[in-house]
Amino acid sequence: MVRAFIQRTDNQSVVPLVKKIVKASFAVVLSTVCFHVLAILYGAPVIESSAETFHFALLLSVTTVLPCICVLGQDSYRWSRVFLHNSPSLGAETVVLFTTYGSLVGAWLGAFPIPLDWDRPWQVWPISCVIGNLIGYMAALAVSSVYIYHKYNVSKKFKLT
C-alpha cells in the first residue's frame, strides 16, 4: 500500500511527497493519541502501564488509520464515501474498509477474556486486545479478498449479459 502511495506521486517533485508523508505521520500520531484516550475511557489504567497502552494505541492506528491514509489520501470525499456510505470501489478501498472495521472489532472482542479467572499471562492488559486486533486484521484481509473475488465474478457476469 505504501508502494502504491509512492507510485502515485512519483511523477511529481519530492516536496509534495515529503509534505504528504509528514501529514500522514502527523495523522497517525494524532490518531494514536485519540486511541490512547479511548483506551483510558474504556478503563485502562491512567498512569500505570501507560507505555503498554500507548503501544496498543499505536498498533491500532497502524492497522486502521495508516492504511486508510495510504489508500484514500487526504480527500475527505473519498473517506466519507468509503466509511459513511459504505460504497468503496472494489479493490484497495474495500480492503481498507474491511481491515479497519476488522481490527477495531477484533480489539474490542479481545477485551472479553480479561475478567476471566484463568490467570494466564496473556490476560493482562493489553495483550489480549493486541492479539484480538491482529487476528481481526488478518481475518478481515482474508474475508475482503474472498469478497472482492466473489464480487468481481458477479460483476463480470453482469457485464456479459
Binding site: 483510558i40 475511557l41 478503563g43 480527500d75 470525499y77 466509511f83 459513511l84 480479561i114 475478567p115 479467572d117
Partner: protein
C-alpha cells in the same frame, strides 16, 4: 363459552405475567435452597457398650457416661469480626494474649467458618455444631428462638448457670436460658465504644460472684469499626488493645480463685472481615477466625501438641461439650479437637472420640440413603472394632509405649472417618429439589415465550378463549404427569410433591400459572399474525439488543458473574462511542455539502436512494462508472458526475422507485430537524465526550468484583483518615453542584426544599463525624433530626409530584413533572444514604442525566432500545456505587440512618433503597424521557392518551423481556455451577431486581 370473548387485554396480560414471573422465581428459589433436615430432639448421654466399660472400668467406677468433665467454669468471649491476623500477626496490639500463647497457657487454632459469614448463622454454628443453611442469611435480621439441640440448651439441662452480656442476637436465640443477661443492640453501626462499654461494665461485678458456671460475652465494637472504616483503620489497634485488657482482667480474676476443676477461657471470632471491612462472603479473610483455649490447667503439657492445621468452627461445640462432660448436641457435625483434651488419659480420649463418632454416625444414618454400603460407614465400624481390640490388649500388652502409640493411631483413625462423614453429610444437606427446579424453569421459559410473542404482535391485540379444549387437554396431561412423577420413588420428598397445605397451595398456583400461560401461548401462536420484527434503525439499537443478549449469556461463566461490573462499564463506553461516531458522521455529512439545508437533504436522501436503487434500476450510467476505473482521482470525478446525473434525474428516480419515496422523505425530515447548524452537532459531540469522561471518573471511584478488588481507588483514598479535609471539600462541592443541577425555574418551593435538604445532608455528615466544618467541631446528637428532615423532604417532593400529576387531565403523560420530582427525591435519598465518599457520585450521575437528555433525543432510538439503554445505565450506576454480586458489599450502615429503634421493615426498605437507588433513578429517568419525547412512530392516528399508554406498554414489555430472559437463562444454568455463595447472592439480586422492575411497572400502570 363465547368464542370471541376477550379474556385479557394487553395491560392485564402484562400484570399477570409479572405475577407469574414472581411466583415461578419464588418456587425456584425454594427448591434451590432447601431447608435442612435436622435430627429432632435433644441428645442425652449414651449408654456405653460392654467392651468400652470393661476397658475403662479398671481405674475408675463412674464411667457410665461420656468422659468426665475436666473444666469447671467456662468463660466464652466472642469478638465479632475478629480476623486471624488481628491476633496471630507479629505486630498485634493484643500483647497479653500473645504472651499467654508464648507461655503455653493458650492453645491457638485457626478455624474456618462456613459461609455465609454473618453473625446469626455463626452463633448457631458455634453453639450447635451444625452448618446453617443459606436461607439463614435472609433471616439474619429476624431472629427467633433457637430450638435445635445445642450446647447452651445442654448446659441448662445439666443445671449449669449461664450469664450473658453482649450482642442481643443471643438473648433472642436463647430467651430463657440465662441466669442474668443484658443484650446490646447491634443496630447502631456508627457506635463502636458504647456497645462494648455496656458489656464490660458488668465484668468486675460478675467476676466477684460465684453463682454462675458459664459466662458468655459477645463484643461488637470491632465489627462496627470494620463496617465503618475497614480493617486497616487506625481505630482497630486501640479496640484490640481494649479487648486484650478485657481478657487479661477475666483471666487473672479467674485464676485468683481456687477451685476443684480448672477454669477455661475461650476467645474466638464469629467471622472474619474482608479487606473492605465487610463480611458475608466466602473469601479466606472472612472465613478464617482465631480460636483460643486459655487455661492454667495445661500450662506444662501444651508444648507437646503443636497443632498448626486449620480446624472447623463447628468443632468448637463438641469439644466444649466433652470438656464440660455434656452430651454432644444432636446435629453437630464437628469433630473434637485433640488439643484441649490433654488432661484426659489416652483411654478417655479414645472414648470421647467414640462418643463423637456414634453421634455423627446417627446423623449420617438419618441423612444418607444407603448408608450401609458407604465407605466411611464401614471405616467407622472398623475403627470401633480396632478400639475394642486395643482395649483388650491393655491387659496383655507389656510395652506401654507401643500400646499408647496404637491409641494415637486409633484416634487418628476416628478423626479421619469423622471428617469424611461430616463433609458427606454437609454435601447431602444442600441437595436441590430437582423436580421443582425443572418445573420453575419450564414455566419461566413459557413466560419468556409469551412476552416475546406479545411484543411481536402487530396490533394491541387481546387474548381470546379460542383454544379451551386444547389447553384443557394439555392441563389434564400435565396433572397426570405431575401425579405420576410425584408418586414415583425418587421424588416424593420434593418441594412441590408434599402433601402439606403450603405445598398444595404452591402446586395449585403453579398449575393456574401453567393454565394461563398455555392459553396465552396457544392463542398467540395459533391465531395472531405477526409482523416481521421491526428492524432497529441504526447501529446503536442493534448494539443495545446484542449487548443485552451477550450479557445474559455471560452468566455461563462464574467469573463474568463476579466481574459483572466490567461488562456494564465496557458496554456503556461502547454505546457512547457508537453514539459519538454517529454524530461525527452526521457532522461529516454536513461538511461535504455546505450551501444550505434543503440541498443537503436532497443530496443525502437521493444518495441513499441511489444506493438502494442500484439493483433495481439498470441505469447504465451507474453501471458504467462503477467498476471500471482504477485511478482514484478520476474515479471520484466520475462518481461526482454520476451523482449530479442522479440529482438531475431525481424526478425519474422518485417515480421509478416509488416504494423508496417514503423513505427519502423520512430522511429529509430527519435532516431538517437536525440541520440547524454544525455548531449544534459539535455541541452534541462535546456532550457525549463529557459523558464518557464522567463515566470514566465514576468507574474509578470504587473497585468492586473479585479480581481487581485490591486496586487502590478514589474511594479508598478519600476514606483515609488523613484525607478528611479533601473529603469534606469534595462532599461540600458536590452537594453545591447538585443544587443548580436540579434547579427548576417553575417551582420555587421545590427549589427551596431541595436546597435546604442538601444543607441538612451536609449537617448530617457533620454530626456523624465524617466531614469537617470550620468552626464546628463535633455535634453530640447522631444527626437524627437532619436525616428525618431529609426523609420528610423526599416524601413532600414525591407527594407534590403525584398531586401535580393528579390535577392534570387524565391520560396525558406530556408533562415530566412527576418524573422530575421523583428524580429530585431519588437524588436526595442517594446523597443521604450513600457513604460519604460516594456523594460525588451522586453529582456525577445527575450531570450524566442532564447530558443524556441533551443528546439522546438526537439518536432516534426506538422505545425498546431506549428502555434497554436506561436499564444499562442503571446497572452501571449500581456498580459505580461499589456494589457487586456478593452479599458482603451491601452497606449495612445505610439501613440505620435516622432510625432510632430496630424496625425490620424500615431498615430493610432503607437497605434496599440504598443498594438499588441507581437503577431506580434511571428508571424514573426513562419515565421522564418517554413522557417528554412521545413517540409519534407508534400510533399516528391515535390520540395522545392512547399513544402514551401504548408507549408505556412497549417500555414495560421490553423491560419484562430483558428480565425474563435473564432469569430464564440464569435459572436454567444454575444447576451446574458450584459456587453457591455467588449464586445465592446473584439469585437474591436477580429476585430483587425483578421485583423492583415489576413493581415499578405496576406503579406505572396504576398511574394511568
Amino acid at each position: 363459552m363465547d368464542g370471541n370473548k376477550v379474556l385479557f387485554n394487553k395491560s392485564k396480560i402484562l400484570k399477570l405475567l409479572c405475577l407469574a414471573l414472581l411466583l415461578c422465581y419464588a418456587s425456584f428459589l425454594l427448591s434451590f435452597f432447601p431447608m435442612r433436615k435436622p435430627v429432632p430432639g435433644y441428645a442425652s448421654h449414651r449408654a456405653l457398650p460392654e467392651w468400652l466399660l470393661r476397658g475403662a472400668g479398671n481405674d475408675s467406677k463412674a464411667h457410665h457416661q461420656a468422659p468426665r468433665p475436666v473444666v469447671g467454669r467456662v468463660v466464652i468471649v466472642v469478638i465479632d469480626a475478629l480476623r486471624v491476623d488481628f491476633i496471630f500477626h507479629e505486630n498485634t496490639t493484643m500483647k497479653y494474649l500473645k504472651s499467654l500463647t508464648q507461655k503455653s497457657e493458650a492453645l491457638g487454632y485457626v478455624a474456618r467458618a462456613h459461609p455465609p459469614t454473618v453473625t446469626l448463622p455463626r452463633i448457631k454454628a458455634i453453639t450447635s455444631g451444625t452448618i446453617p443453611g443459606f436461607i439463614d442469611v435472609i433471616s439474619n435480621f429476624d431472629t427467633d428462638v433457637f430450638s435445635e439441640d445445642n450446647v447452651v440448651i445442654q448446659m441448662k439441662k445439666m443445671g449449669k448457670k449461664i450469664i450473658f452480656y453482649g450482642d442481643d442476637t443471643w438473648t433472642s436465640l436463647f430467651p430463657n436460658h440465662f441466669l442474668r443477661s443484658e443484650g446490646t443492640s447491634s443496630f447502631f453501626v456508627t457506635d463502636y465504644t458504647e456497645v462494648d462499654d455496656n458489656v464490660t461494665r458488668h465484668l468486675s461485678k460478675e467476676l466477684e460472684q460465684d453463682d454462675w458456671d458459664v459466662m458468655i460475652l459477645h463484643y461488637l465494637g470491632l465489627d462496627h469499626i470494620g463496617h465503618l472504616s475497614g480493617p486497616s483503620s487506625p481505630l482497630i489497634g486501640p479496640k484490640l488493645q481494649e479487648m486484650d485488657n478485657v481478657i487479661q482482667k477475666i483471666y487473672s480474676a479467674l485464676n485468683r480463685k481456687k477451685e476443684i476443676l480448672p477454669t477455661l477461657l475461650i476467645v474466638c471470632g464469629d467471622h472474619g472481615m474482608s479487606d473492605q471491612g465487610s463480611h458475608g462472603g466466602a473469601s479466606s479473610s472472612e472465613t478464617l477466625v482465631p480460636v483460643l483455649f486459655i487455661s492454667q490447667a495445661w500450662k506444662s503439657m501444651i508444648a507437646e501438641i503443636k497443632d498448626g492445621s486449620i480446624v472447623q468452627q463447628i468443632d468448637l461445640a463438641p469439644t466444649l461439650s466433652i470438656l464440660l462432660g455434656l452430651p454432644i448436641p444432636q446435629n453437630s457435625l464437628g469433630c473434637i479437637l485433640k488439643g484441649p483434651l490433654i488432661n484426659y488419659s489416652i483411654e478417655e480420649k479414645a472414648q470421647a472420640f467414640w462418643v463423637n463418632s456414634q453421634q455423627v454416625l446417627n446423623i449420617f444414618e438419618y441423612n444418607v440413603p444407603d448408608y450401609e454400603n458407604d465407605l466411611c460407614y464401614i471405616q467407622c465400624h472398623i475403627a470401633f472394632s480396632h478400639h475394642s481390640d486395643w482395649l483388650q490388649k491393655l491387659r496383655t500388652e507389656l510395652f506401654h509405649s507401643t500400646w499408647e502409640e496404637e491409641g494415637y493411631q486409633l484416634i487418628q483413625e476416628y478423626e479421619d472417618c469423622l471428617r469424611t462423614m461430616s463433609s458427606k453429610i454437609a454435601s447431602s444437606l444442600t441437595k436441590y429439589h430437582m423436580y421443582g427446579i425443572t418445573v420453575s424453569v419450564f414455566l419461566l421459559c413459557m413466560i419468556l415465550i409469551v412476552v416475546i410473542l406479545t411484543a411481536l404482535q402487530k396490533k394491541r391485540s387481546n387474548i381470546h378463549f379460542h383454544h379451551l379444549p386444547l389447553v384443557g387437554l394439555c392441563t389434564i396431561v400435565v396433572i397426570f404427569g405431575h401425579v405420576t412423577i410425584c408418586t414415583g420413588q425418587t421424588n416424593n420428598m420434593d418441594l412441590i410433591c408434599q402433601k402439606n397445605p403450603q405445598s398444595v397451595l404452591l402446586q395449585a398456583c403453579l398449575l393456574a400459572c401453567f393454565f394461563f400461560l398455555a392459553i396465552c401461548v396457544a392463542d398467540l401462536i395459533l391465531m395472531s399474525s405477526f409482523d416481521s420484527i421491526k428492524k432497529p434503525r441504526n447501529v446503536v439499537s442493534h448494539f443495545l439488543i446484542l449487548g443485552t443478549v451477550l450479557h445474559t449469556l455471560s452468566f455461563l461463566s462464574s467469573s463474568f458473574v463476579e466481574e459483572e461490573h466490567q461488562t456494564w462499564y465496557f458496554y456503556t463506553v461502547s454505546i457512547h462511542i457508537l453514539i459519538l461516531s454517529h454524530f461525527i458522521s452526521q457532522l461529516h455529512q454536513k461538511k461535504t455539502e455546505k450551501p444550505n439545508c434543503v440541498q443537503t437533504d436532497k443530496y443525502t436522501a437521493l444518495n441513499q436512494s441511489k444506493n438502494l436503487c442500484v439493483e433495481n434500476q439498470s441505469n447504465f450510467q451507474i453501471q458504467q462508472h462503477s467498476y471500471t476505473k482504477r485511478n482514484s482521482i478520476e474515479e471520484t470525478k466520475t462518481y461526482r458526475f454520476n451523482l449530479r446525473n442522479v440529482t438531475s434525474h431525481s424526478n425519474t428516480i422518485d417515480r421509478t422507485c416509488s416504494p423508496l419515496t417514503d423513505q427519502s422523505v423520512g430522511v429529509s425530515d430527519y435532516f431538517e430537524e437536525n440541520c440547524s447548524d454544525r455548531g449544534g452537532i459539535v455541541k452534541l459531540i462535546v456532550s457525549v465526550l463529557c459523558m464518557l469522561i464522567l463515566s470514566r471518573v465514576a468507574r474509578s471511584w470504587n473497585q468492586t468484583g473479585n479480581k481487581w478488588l485490591a486496586r487502590p481507588d478514589i474511594g479508598d483514598w478519600l476514606n483515609r483518615p488523613e484525607n478528611k479535609l479533601p473529603l469534606s471539600a469534595i462532599v461540600a462541592l458536590s452537594l453545591l453542584l447538585l443544587i443548580p443541577a436540579r434547579w427548576k425555574s417553575k417551582s420555587h418551593t421545590t427549589n427551596f426544599l431541595f436546597t435546604t435538604a442538601c444543607m441538612a445532608i451536609y449537617k448530617f455528615r457533620l454530626a456523624t463525624g465524617s466531614v469537617y466544618f470550620p468552626g464546628l467541631d463535633f455535634l453530640q446528637d447522631k444527626g437524627l433530626h437532619e436525616a428525618w428532615f431529609v426523609y420528610i423532604t423526599v416524601l413532600t417532593l414525591v407527594i407534590h409530584g403525584i398531586w401535580k400529576k393528579w390535577r392534570e387531565p387524565r391520560g396525558s403523560l406530556g408533562s415530566p413533572i412527576l418524573g422530575d420530582s421523583l428524580q429530585s427525591a431519588c437524588t436526595l435519598l442517594m446523597a443521604l444514604l450513600f457513604r460519604p465518599h460516594n456523594i460525588p457520585l451522586v453529582a456525577i450521575v445527575t450531570y450524566q442525566e442532564h447530558l443524556i437528555h441533551y443528546f439522546l433525543p438526537h439518536c432516534k432510538l426506538s422505545l425498546t432500545s431506549a428502555s434497554l439503554y436506561f436499564w444499562w445505565l442503571g446497572q452501571t450506576t449500581f456498580f459505580y456505587q461499589g456494589n457487586s454480586n456478593s452479599i458482603s458489599t451491601v452497606d449495612v450502615s445505610a439501613g440505620y440512618i435516622g432510625v432510632l429503634e430496630y424496625q425490620p421493615l424500615v431498615i430493610g426498605t432503607l437497605l434496599a433503597l440504598s443498594t438499588y437507588i441507581g437503577p431506580i433513578f434511571w428508571f424514573f429517568n426513562l419515565l421522564k424521557y418517554v413522557c417528554q419525547h412521545q413517540y409519534s412512530a407508534i400510533g399516528d392516528r391515535r390520540n395522545d392518551a392512547e399513544r402514551s399508554q401504548c408507549s408505556m406498554e412497549t417500555v414495560c414489555t421490553s423491560l419484562l423481556i430483558s428480565r425474563t430472559f435473564t432469569l430464564a437463562i440464569y435459572t436454567a444454568l444454575d444447576n451446574q455451577s458450584e459456587n453457591i455463595t455467588i449464586e445465592l447472592s446473584r439469585a437474591k439480586f436477580e429476585c430483587q431486581h425483578s421485583m423492583k422492575d415489576n413493581s415499578s411497572i405496576h406503579i406505572v400502570r396504576s398511574k394511568k
